[in-house]
Amino acid sequence: MPRSANFSNASPRQVAAAISRSRRDFLRQATGAALFAPSALRAIAAPSAKKAVVVTFGGGARDDETFNADGQDNIPRMLAELAPRSTFFTQVVNRGILGHYVATASLATGVYETFNNFAAVSPDNPTVFEYFRKDLKRPSTDAWVIAPSNGFNRIGESEHKGYGKGLGAGVILPKRLLAAALAHGGAADFNHLLRDNYESTSFSPVIGGNDVELQQLADIFKVSIDDFISHAKSLASPDELSVYIARQLMKRLAPSLLWITLHDIDVAHSGAFSLYLEGIRRSDRLCADLWKTIQSEPEYANKTTLFILPDFGRDSDISPGGNGFQHHRTGDATSRTTWMMVLGPGIRENHIVERPVDSTDLVPTLGTLLGFSPSLCHGQPMLEVV
């Protein structure tokens, strides 16, 4: 049994409340946001052909490096451009397994999945994409997932017998596409790029699922494989590639449900704090850019709700079993508690919701917003944004 003293006497509930207070207070200070106040800064009636874009961070960012005073330099655009336009949930609690694939699957099913995080398996419960497509009779081109990690190749659809095969989302794994492209071109050393799970030493599960192949993507985007590689080289990170692909998808197919999982922040597992900060800054920029894209694309402008949330947090500095920002292994309140921004037509701006909500509440919220019934999920719609 490891020996270490816990010098924090606060209960998890107290810590969670403190996290919430900290985010609330900072947002109030930074944006002048109102708590439970009538919004009315903008109240655009929601158009009928609603769309939703969900951005999750695989690799949470702590308040210390974001919403606390010392962290605000890292998220300038979220604070200046997104927070004032959003309803902000200060406490999103993840009560499930704190591994990125299984946690993202839980977000996407609305049920805490319990499979091995490192296994190449589909979620047990129907995903939001299956509910969406089956209930609304949408084609396969209307729901997409973009995830940089190879391990996410089965995130698009479950193994549930009432849903499952043929009803899920198309999955694009940019790193896999690059690997395929480079195999064509004979480029040399790209192992580091494909090393996408910082928590395990390296991770490359057996491929399977409904992920898109390179030629399909080239056909969809109407770009050559060479152009794809050339553009990839001009980008700073895998997350930039993911957002580039998201923009292309939005231009070409304009899916109604688009889910993007960013992963650069998870470089924190390597223990290099400066790289973790760079990941946060990049995610900040990419989220703001994505919102701009949503506003500028005719298929999306004024009819799209954007959800931004980390899948969970990271360990606190004082949690005795952890090593601060590096991991999310302790299950302490800081690692379980995160936040969410929601922006779009009909969403109250400059509004803070302090009550705790659950990670599994995302799917029923999307269901209420887009008009499908996620009958098997465990969460509740977040009424503040539907």
Binding site: M1, P2, I97, F118, A188, F190, A272, S274
Partner: protein, 403 residues
């Protein structure tokens, strides 16, 4: 197999001192739950290569558990006994592979949503055990020194942001002979209290000379071992079917001999250094991570009186273009990023010192190498203040140690 089925022969694969400890406590081990016993066995399996503090700690845990009345022990162990484990866990070779068992137990507890209960039970047990121990008398107040920033001429980054609230920020430090002055101070402390594993120097680059009386660990000194471990990881990664958990198990089984480590004559230190690379995350790649993790582990495992860490520039993260084109074969370094890593690493070391006995009297100095900025923490220095009086490293060391 359950703990009640343990016999003296169960520990035949253990080293002599570990086996003797098991034999002496066999009847106790037989009464404890399966979710608890492998935590003790993991340490007993390498007991012969543990630092003196760790050996005493484990022995004290047995003494603590043995002297409890049966009813108290049953109550203490109840939260562990009530955890629902799987047949697979029960049937695994947890006696000879306790680390593997604990990996599997962790996965099982997460999957079955029992992790929070386990965490709470563990923290409660540790707190009660620590409370049962007499206050540890330190030969001298514990001192940590962290130095970082090599290669950075100027920065816009606000350094010491987490340390400043705990001590005094000095803005007019004469950096001349700073490292030499620190080295002399370390030697003096080691000479004053020549206790095994009590004074550590952890270097992120190459160690120029090992001062007498100090346990020295340096990143460059482990280059060959790191290369061999990297090759092992790469080969596992490139296999047709990769299992990260198996790789972790394989790494845990690596011994100094299997990676060709020179026998320093100090088995405990050799194994400690190897563990930094086989159990740490990122320690194989980034020297800054290595230094921070080594300091954490040294503090946790050896409870040193003195810990000096120096962060050298780590290798730079490669860009997409470099990755895709296979260029940039020569390793470039990232001085600014390493400075930021070191700044956070210094804070982590201070936090880890706060977990140890004597925390109220602990002292700490963090210095931006070659520059005039430092933070000093000591009981007599007013926390959260600034001091613009000209001083030097010798002056700071004096104030830190004697305030």
């Amino acid at each position: 197999m359950l703990p009640k089925q343990l016999t003296a022969e169960s520990f035949n694969g253990y080293p002599p001192k570990g086996r003797a400890l098991a034999a002496a406590n066999l009847s106790l081990l037989q009464t404890m739950p399966l979710a608890f016993v492998p935590f003790l066995l993991k340490d007993m399996l390498v007991f012969d290569w543990k630092f003196p503090f760790e050996q005493a700690d484990l022995t004290n845990q047995f003494a603590y558990l043995n002297k409890m009345f049966e009813g108290d022990r049953e109550r203490t162990m109840r939260p562990f006994a009530e955890l629902k484990l799987s047949d697979k866990l029960e049937n695994s070779d947890w006696v000879n592979q306790p680390a593997q068992f604990l990996e599997d137990l962790s996965a099982h507890l997460w999957t079955t949503q029992q992790m929070d209960g386990f965490r709470s039970a563990s923290e409660d047990y540790v707190r009660r055990f620590n409370d049962s121990l007499p206050a540890e008398e330190l030969a001298m107040p514990r001192l940590g020194i962290a130095v970082f920033g090599e290669g950075v001429s100027a920065t816009q980054y606000k350094l010491f942001r987490k340390l400043r609230p705990n001590g005094v920020f000095f803005s007019q430090v004469n950096p001349a002979n700073g490292k030499e002055t620190i080295a002399e101070a370390l030697k003096a402390r080691a000479a004053a209290h020549n206790i095994p594993y009590a004074h550590w120097s952890i270097e992120g680059g190459a160690l120029r000379a090992a001062p007498a009386g100090l346990v020295c660990v340096d990143y460059d000194g482990l280059t060959e071992v790191r290369s061999k471990l990297a090759a092992m990881m790469l080969s596992a990664y490139e296999a047709a079917k990769f299992d990260p958990e198996k790789l972790r198990t394989k790494l845990a089984a690596v011994t100094p001999q299997t990676v060709g480590m020179k026998d320093s004559g100090d088995g405990a230190l050799d194994r400690f250094q190897l563990s930094l690379l086989t159990e740490g995350s990122g320690t194989q790649i980034y020297s800054t991570t290595f230094v921070q993790w080594a300091a954490r582990e040294a503090l946790r495992r050896a409870h040193p009186l003195t810990i000096y860490t120096r962060y050298a520039p780590r290798q730079k993260e490669r860009t997409m273009d470099e990755l895709l084109s296979g260029t940039q074969k020569k390793t470039a370094t990232d001085a600014e990023g390493s400075m930021i890593d070191g700044d956070m690493g210094a804070y982590c070391t201070w936090v880890n010192m706060q977990r140890l006995p004597g925390a109220d009297d602990a002292r700490f100095l963090a210095w931006f190498e070659g520059h005039g900025e430092a933070v000093a923490i000591a009981p007599g220095l007013k926390a959260g203040t600034e001091d613009a009086t000209p001083t030097d490293i010798a002056g700071l060391l004096k104030r830190v140690q004697y305030s």
